[in-house]
Symmetry: C2
Subunit: 557 residues, 2 copies
């Protein structure tokens, strides 16, 4: 496909994306509903099982694999294992042509990659489902159109950032009666070098695409190092990217896969190699902090762990609040970095449209709402998905020992996948009196992330105390999301103030079909990059601006 | 002064600055010529000598000073010394109101600060001259209008970055036949926290204003820690900023000075305090690297040392090249981070419009050009200024021992300041054969920065070899500038390719009144941020985008 053709096809989409990030109104070119897509995704996915994903990468010295679906299926797929001393130099070889192509060409090539991925959304849905454990519909939407949205959003930001500076300028400085000083200047966006994407287990595409496309669109080769349990969605992505690059006349090696052998821990050695100049990472705080401290030769963008809080002060829609929260806690078994963990509820209860509710009543009503939502096994399976790994189950089981269990986790059988571990969320009551958390070295359970389907109903002394605990939690532990329910303007302002000061994204009084754990590309920021949960937000200028540098050449005119 | 009045006054200038950074054509609102300014700068400066700069900062526990002009005058000025445990909390107190004011209000307050500084340019010129050692006209221009330009440029970038996201948006997601999902979203730019400016000795305002204004305009309080030998220009800046903030209804403590006692080394302890979330630094590579490694709680923007190269391949204007280079080497005695150090000249000579010139001839002709330029003492004094500190003189004296001296440094008496140390540049011939530099641990003098009026005429085997040495030097040592002279399209492309790949700013065939060591705000980038000389460029999106975070509050509509 020629570049001019790609431009004609994709420039209108790019322009719409540019407009969307400017207005932040609702927009997407990627439909959410499976009916919008053709092709038998299941058959395409099944055809991959037990085979090799051939990428024709230089320096392939072995084949490796070993993914087992959280639904119990062994994928049996193998991937090329790289000799990095061969692969990395090969990845740089195409950089000059990629740089010379300029921002628009790079953008439309990225959009073609996304368009081909979009066309294969049903197949990607199965790949995401059987690596992350997401239920099918979530894998379809979050792993398909929503991930593609986030990729496109990154391309739009990357393009906008590069064209803020013109490609050339004539500069003429008056000199009074003498001739003006005149220079002809050219400006070229130059990538920093190879960009490393370290993928995660739970959202391989959604969390992977922003960094991948931001780096590629700004002129950098991208090496994709997937999570060993979620290789397939990113391997397919790399395959498509290589195909499109090649067809458009660029070096396919601008995008490559680094699959690893079990236990190889390739990310740690890769991250500090001098060729790696950018790193995108989603995962544990421990390794994220390590990357920030040690990969000093690279720009490092991390999304780590946080502790998400919902402040429950009062509501004029008690039922709506309960059902909204119940959904948020249940979706993907709470295995989202945005799932609320701590529900801060005043010990003496809250005011609602259904009258005053005691702390115990609120917790019991929420437990009942979750129970109701997940009472039907088919519906529960469609919402919960499977636990992504045994650690989550272990944490869930341990959580019952932390306090009074208001809602016990229930095991649900999956009709299609008997080996899947499907669990409903648990709610544990904890004492949030100030003395328990406002002391150095407090071991209060709600001050740590408990990743998975565990929420803490924390009884606080008052809403004021809840806000103090919220501030303390964001500052010390970070937060990807904050929610609050209140009918008081004063409380609303106070919680806003905490979120502004501690840099956390706030959702207020959600009682309908939007949930605190979901963000929409082109409109919502995912994370703030300003608290310990993440050093970057998806997506903004800062996420793209330092992935390239502007090199100026000036000549006497 | 009311904000509405400030907006009316300064919004047009802001709009022009926004347009200038977009077109990168010539523009400035700050005239270069002293005649454009009124007021007796000398008298104003003299009135400061021996006195106190009163700032009314909280937590002033002492008065400190001790600047001695490189021209020999003791300034005798003292400045408030801070108790940081009092000052830092006081600086944060005004943050909420400063944040709430929004991007435009912050921008126009910054522009008012710059306008008042601009009006006092003649006074600042003397302050810069007697701290940096710059000659008067340079201190006037670089320390006055050019520095103000760089400050305004940073404000424009900061404003543009913040308003890329609207302050609010209505989001409506269609749901087929059901009602759409509707959210009302607000977006607020939130500063990261206190920003620390660590000023330098040679260009206190020019290198200081970008970081100061970028941080202030994005909502951060700014603590200014000047170089102990160049306090006055930044202390006056802080004084003006506090006055304007206060008059506009904001907390004056949003900008404060941290003057230090001799030998106190306050920067090192300040830089790692948790309150400090942004650092701007210009100075030695050693301390810059230390900041990047240790001030992990902060965004760190550094301009460190580099080794600047000019490749001399051929020219069609031999005389123009020599006089242009002679000026570049002489200006401010080579004490600019952008002054060329290594002149790479093929050992077998170059082709010119004046016939073939041997290496020896080129070097001798350049020495003669410098000699001619500085032959008249009055003109030499006006161009050279004074050596900023004794280290520079020591290095200059040691340089004579490094190789054959093609041009010896000459001491020049200053008619007005008998104690000023004024020296013409030295040119030393060195062997640039590949074997001397292309080995691990090479101790070739031209592989290190020799800050001051010392240049090396490096005899290389060929232009190709020069390009290899150029690449090696940028990659290992960094470069703020690269120059090249060639009449060959092929060589021109090759040197461009090296600069693109190694991320260095290139000036080609300058033979007139523009010099490789000068950059113009709104058009030229200062540094690239992509090689070891600096991790940021002045000024671009990356310089401002991470000084604030965008916090979103979304509500059910």
């Amino acid at each position: 496909m020629q570049l001019t053709e790609l431009s004609q096809t994709h420039r209108p989409t790019l322009d719409q994306a540019l407009e969307a990030i400017r207005t932040r109104e609702y927009w997407t070119p990627h439909p959410e509903h499976p009916k919008a897509y053709s092709g038998d995704g299941k058959a395409a996915f099944d055809a991959l099982l037990g085979g090799r994903i051939e990428l024709n990468q230089p320096g392939t010295d072995d084949w490796t694999g070993g993914e087992v679906s959280p639904y119990g299926v062994e994928l049996g797929i193998t991937y090329p294992h790289p000799d990095l001393d061969v692969l990395l130099p090969a990845m740089s070889a195409g950089t000059a042509a990629w740089r010379a192509a300029g921002p628009e060409a790079r953008a439309v090539v990225c959009l073609e990659i996304l368009a081909r991925i979009s066309a294969r959304t049903p197949e990607f849905a199965h790949a995401v489902m059987h690596t992350s454990g997401q239920a099918f519909m979530m894998a379809f939407q979050a792993g398909g159109p929503h991930a593609q949205d986030r990729g496109l959003e990154a391309v739009a930001y990357a393009y906008a950032e590069q064209v803020r500076t013109p490609s050339s300028a004539d500069w003429s400085k008056p000199q009074g009666k003498r001739d003006p000083l005149e220079l002809r200047k050219s400006f070229t966006a130059v990538g920093r070098g190879i960009s490393l994407l370290i993928g995660c287990n739970t959202f391989p595409t959604w969390n992977g695409y922003p960094g991948l496309f931001a780096s590629l669109a700004t002129g950098n080769p991208v090496l994709v190092k997937p999570h060993p349990r979620a290789v397939l969605p990113l391997a397919l992505t790399v395959q498509v990217a290589r195909e499109v690059l090649s067809e458009a006349g660029f070096d396919a090696n601008l995008v490559a896969l680094a699959a690893e052998r079990p236990g190889e821990g390739i990310a740690k050695s890769l991250a500090v190699r001098p060729e790696i100049r950018i790193i995108d990472y989603t995962g544990s705080t421990t390794f994220g902090d390590w990357l920030e401290a040690n990969a000093r030769q690279a720009q490092v963008y991390t999304e780590k762990a946080g502790v998400n809080t919902v402040v429950v002060d009062s509501t004029d829609n008690y039922k709506g609040m309960l059902s909204n929260l119940a959904f948020s806690l249940s979706l993907y078994s709470g295995q989202m970095c945005t799932t609320p963990q701590n529900l801060l509820i005043p010990a003496d209860g809250i005011t609602t449209d259904a009258g005053h509710k005691t702390y115990d009543e609120v917790v019991a009503d929420l437990a009942a709402a979750v129970g109701g939502l997940l009472g039907d096994d088919a519906r529960a399976n469609a919402l919960l998905g499977a636990l992504v790994n045994p650690d989550v189950r272990d944490r869930l089981e341990a959580a019952a020992g932390l306090g009074e269990v208001a809602l016990a986790s229930r095991e649900i059988a999956h009709p299609d996948f008997p080996d899947a571990v499907v669990r409903t969320p648990a709610i544990v009551k904890l004492d949030g009196a100030r003395k328990h958390w406002d002391t150095a070295g407090s071991d209060a359970a709600y001050l740590s992330e408990c990743f998975g389907p565990v929420s803490f109903a924390v009884a606080v002394e008052s809403t004021r105390s809840a806000l103090d605990l919220l501030r303390h939690t964001i500052r010390d532990k970070g937060a990807m999301t904050v929610g609050a329910y209140t009918t008081s303007t004063e409380v609303e302002q106070a919680v806003e103030e905490v979120c502004l000061e501690e840099c956390a994204q706030l959702s207020l009084n959600l009682t309908g079909g939007v949930y605190v754990n979901q963000t929409a590309a082109f409109s919502d920021f995912h994370g703030s990059g300003g608290n310990p949960a993440a050093n970057a937000a998806l997506c903004d200028g800062a996420f793209v601006a330092n992935r390239f540098r502007m090199v100026e050449v000036r000549r006497q005119a």
